[in-house]
């Protein structure tokens, strides 16, 4: 355990050295947030209770989305990218001969990265959004605690998906294809462009059952108070379930890779 904390801390520190990139990213998040807010306000102006959200919910959803983009690494990146690179270069042998599991190591690193992104790319745009628009905040301290627990679970789900894409590098050497596929899926199913709640019936049901719903839609519904009581527990169980399934899938693929695959280079 102390090892994994050290790995997470190191990842946090590593990302924190790129101050310029962080500031530029925060600026981008704010600009996109403002643009999306105006689009959403138009939509909710025409249809004031779309998806069971009112205009204030919709605007809050926008800023939660901006906060989660980098934290959950919706578009990819984070430690699975490092692993894909190490598989390509053959440096993965160093990881393999150590007496610690690859999955736990890379997950810890990604959680460290996520913590950094939550505190910077997550918090700063939300503060800016709060100054510019009328946002909703959870009143119950318990809700804050639940959300605090939900974020690392969402990161773990996203990690599982990114890791599966990266692990294909053991067979394909180049994981660009699977990564692009994952990016397209996330673009739509994460609810980052359009909240999943306003999708039409069948499509909504489908989207709400997929792992990408854990990135934003489920935590946002908890934040906005759309899920209360048992529904909150259900939401967390849904997220935890996907996290476990995806980590198990990663472990299985990794095991196969270790037994079957040529490690590159001398």
């Amino acid at each position: 355990m102390p090892l994994h904390v050290a790995v997470a801390t190191r990842a946090f520190k590593r990302y924190s050295t790129y101050v310029g990139a962080t500031l530029a990213g925060i600026f981008t998040n704010c600009v996109f947030g403002v643009i999306l807010c105006f689009v959403y306000l138009e939509v909710w102006g025409a249809n004031p209770d779309a998806g069971g959200y009112d205009a204030s919910d919709a605007v809050t959803y926008v800023w939660l989305g901006q906060a989660m983009i980098m934290t959950v690494a919706v578009w990819g990146g984070g430690s699975p990218d490092d692993l894909a690179e190490r598989i390509r270069s053959g440096d993965v042998v160093i990881d393999l001969y150590r007496p610690v599991g690859i999955l736990g190591w890379y997950l810890s690193a990604d959680l460290g990265r996520a913590a950094y992104h939550l505190l910077t790319r997550g918090l700063a745009p939300t503060v800016v959004g709060g100054l510019l628009f009328d946002l909703r905040y959870p009143a119950d301290p318990l809700t804050w605690l639940v959300l605090l627990a939900a974020v690392p679970v969402a990161v773990t789900v996203s990690f599982g998906l990114r890791m599966l894409a990266s692990l294909t590098a053991f067979w394909l050497l180049d994981d660009v294809g699977p990564r692009m596929l994952l990016g397209f899926a996330a673009l739509f199913f994460s609810g980052l462009t359009v909240p999943l709640v306003i999708l039409p019936g069948g499509l909504r049901e489908l989207a709400m059952a997929l792992p990408w719903a854990t990135f934003l839609q489920v935590p946002a519904d908890i934040w906005l108070g759309k899920r209360t009581g048992l529904e909150v527990v259900e939401g967390l169980a849904f997220m935890g379930g996907w996290a476990v399934v995806l980590l198990a899938a990663c472990a299985w693929v990794l095991h196969r890779a270790e037994r079957r695959v040529v490690v590159q280079g001398g």
Partner: protein, 327 residues
């Protein structure tokens, strides 16, 4: 029972290749290692040599458990490496000359700290080891330097400390002196000799540098095309391969080919001449004879390189017995 035992080890890879404009790629089996059998006892220092692509790294990967053999048996410290990779990892150290197990963005000290947590070495033991290795490899001033700012030689020393902090019984070194200058190479060899002498660490190193072997190894295993072609002493290898050293002589003036007992003149270029003599013979009488009979401006002695020795080994009839029975 030996510390490392390998018997009839074989590893094949499937390669897909497009053959002559065929639309489908054809699968071909490539044998990276075949019928490898050897045993290494605790405390030995063994050179594992062969040309590029001979199967050296494949063997080391199988010995560390990273790669699963296609067939055959391996036992390292009493266990099957690929089945007990994690348990074995605590008892072995690996240095890959061309890769680093340190973290580029971290100072050396933090890398060592992280390794301490990985191997969960006893804290007191870790401290003593660290202090001793840092002292011996002269890394004291560099502990706060990020790894990316270290020179190749400094990084290699750092990597060797990294591989040894958990007191491994076996150390595998893959091209440890590659790219190092003469002074760094000498220091590293001195350190490895002391490590073997004082701690009894078993060393297995792959290298292209015959001088590494000369300085460190009593025993050499040569493989080529995945097959073991020699197992025995270095002297035996030279003898069996008929390898020769070369004296390069610069005379004061141009002269006809030199005639000296024990050596054959192979080449003449102006005042410079190349004389070859058996690698196990002493250069001293030849040099002495040259100095008395000729006006020598300068001379130097060239060692045979590994590729040369192995080529020689092949030009001999294949029935020649190896220096010592395998297994």
């Amino acid at each position: 029972m030996s510390l490392i035992e390998v018997s009839e080890l074989r590893r094949t890879f499937t390669v897909r290749r497009r053959v002559d404009g065929a639309r489908r790629k054809q699968r071909t089996e490539v044998e990276a290692v075949r019928d490898l059998t050897f045993a290494i006892d605790a405390g030995e220092m063994v050179g594992y040599i062969g040309p590029n692509g001979a199967g050296k790294s494949t063997t080391v990967k199988m010995l560390t458990g990273i790669l699963v053999p296609t067939s055959g048996r391996i036992s390292v410290a009493g266990v099957d490496p690929s089945r007990h990779r994690t348990a074995l990892a605590r008892r072995i150290g690996v240095v890959f000359g061309q890769r680093t197990s340190l973290w580029w963005d971290l100072p050396l000290h933090d890398s060592f700290d992280l390794l301490h947590k990985i191997y969960r070495t006893d804290p007191a033991r870790h401290r003593t080891n660290l202090a001793e290795f840092v002292e011996l490899l002269d890394l004291g001033d560099l502990l706060d330097t990020p790894v990316r700012q270290l020179s190749l030689g400094q990084r290699m020393r750092g990597d060797i400390v990294a591989a040894l902090l958990h007191d491994p019984e076996i150390l595998y070194l893959d091209e440890p002196t590659i790219g190092l200058d003469v002074v760094s190479k000498g220091r590293l060899r001195e350190f490895l000799r002391a490590l073997n002498r004082d701690r009894g660490t078993t060393l297995m190193l792959t290298t292209h540098d015959l001088q590494d072997i000369e300085a460190l190894c009593d025993r050499v295993i040569v493989i080529d095309h995945g097959t073991q072609v020699y197992d025995g002493t270095l002297a035996g290898l030279h003898e069996q391969g008929g390898s020769r050293r070369t004296v390069v002589v610069d005379l004061v003036d141009e002269a006809p080919p030199i005639e000296v007992a024990g050596a054959v003149t192979r080449r003449v270029e102006g005042p410079r001449q190349w004389l070859s003599f058996p690698a196990d013979a002493s250069a001293a009488p030849i040099v002495a004879a040259l100095a008395t009979s000729y006006d020598v401006a300068d001379l130097s002695i060239q060692e045979p390189d590994i590729e040369e020795v192995i080529r020689q080994l092949y030009s001999r009839p294949p029935s020649e017995p190896s220096g010592r029975p395998s297994g």
